[in-house]
Subunit: 220 residues, 2 copies
């Protein structure tokens, strides 16, 4: 259990070594991969992500989202063509950020087994809102997206999944099929969303990660 929650560094610090979440966002914004969270569009995306996660897409109204950032509902449509476009935007941003974060964590890990553990921790943190706000929307609200929007998000999503599959394959897994292992693992991890409370006493997140790792890579 070395480690592993990196410290979320202070606001502006240009540090050497491990970049903070905020620095990662800035870098991705600079690369044009993420929307600036301080722009009107970015603020709307963040507010929508929060609400979609809390109440679900269908029960979140554009009026809710607008109120969250302090504008009127109609004004939203100067930034997005439709409500679904907002969901689509949220999913794209979440996917890009989660992938970048996991890439970092893998690069920082040592052995293949530690890399797999890093992925598990990463995704658990994301699912439980400790690192990637809105991540659970990707799973829960997938059906709220139209087929063509699904296609667009799926391309980014596959980058994320490919990283997982590579790590699993390198770690050597019990069922000898990285894609299958990932699918079972993904299900197990996302479902923790409904029962696991990372802040409660009892099972901690790193402990849970170890249990899962033990299951999917028993050679420990």
């Amino acid at each position: 259990m070395s480690n592993s929650v990196q410290q979320s560094g202070g606001g502006a610090g240009k540090s050497q070594g491990v970049p903070s979440p905020r620095q990662l966002v800035s870098a991705l914004v600079a690369d044009g991969l993420l929307t600036d969270p301080d722009s009107p569009r970015g603020r709307l995306l963040n507010a929508a992500a929060r609400l979609f996660e809390q109440k679900g897409f269908a029960r979140t109204t554009v009026r809710d989202i607008a109120a969250e950032v302090g504008i009127l509902s109609g004004s939203i449509f100067h930034h997005f063509a439709s409500k679904e476009e907002i969901l689509c935007g949220v999913m794209r941003e979440v996917t890009v950020f989660a992938r970048a974060r996991m890439e970092q964590a893998v690069a920082r890990a040592g052995t293949p087994r530690q890399q797999l553990r890093a992925c598990i921790v990463c995704e658990l943190e994301a699912i439980h809102g400790l690192a990637v706000p809105g991540f659970s929307i990707l799973v829960v609200e997938w059906r709220s997206l139209s087929p063509q929007s699904q296609k667009r998000v799926l391309r980014l999503r596959d980058d994320y999944e490919q990283l997982w599959r590579d790590v699993i394959a390198a770690a050597g897994n019990p069922c000898e099929d990285p894609a299958l292992a990932r699918r079972l693992l993904l299900g197990a991890l996302t479902h923790t969303h409904t029962w696991f409370k990372p802040r409660s006493r009892g099972l901690s997140l790193p402990e849970l990660a170890d249990r899962v790792l033990q299951l999917f890579a028993p050679a420990g």
Copy 2:
């Protein structure tokens, strides 16, 4: 907690050997645990289950459900107090039936490991619409239920889960915590809903069940 597999005796279908699904339904109807599927209420529940599974609760209108059984939308409210009551009813019926079915399968299996496999097969079949229509609604639409409705369904749901936990405990599992194992397993199995196609060539359902069993009870 020991226990608990009793066979739910039939009110009506007195056959020897293994009862068919239809006989099981009849028995449960006779015991007052299930709504007669030929009654107006039963027909509505079945239609609603089908639609909720296809399009989701939020995007299914009471007009859709009414049209499915050939009545007008207003007439629904002579059978249910609200749309949510329909969802609640569907979930209760699905849970009761799935539990009875799994009980049968467990009773029919030999060793504890075979019992665990029977549970896995049972749930996979349920999830993929091969045995318990509407089962996936239990997972996907859980948040569409009001807190008090959730409580009511949860009581039935816990019977179902207890059966699982007993079987897992008896089989001896890798992480020595039946509740945790069940949760990870539940996530893995329900998530197959999004990717596994039981009718396609490639991985078959029994094969998938074996892979999962191997993972959660490696002592094979």
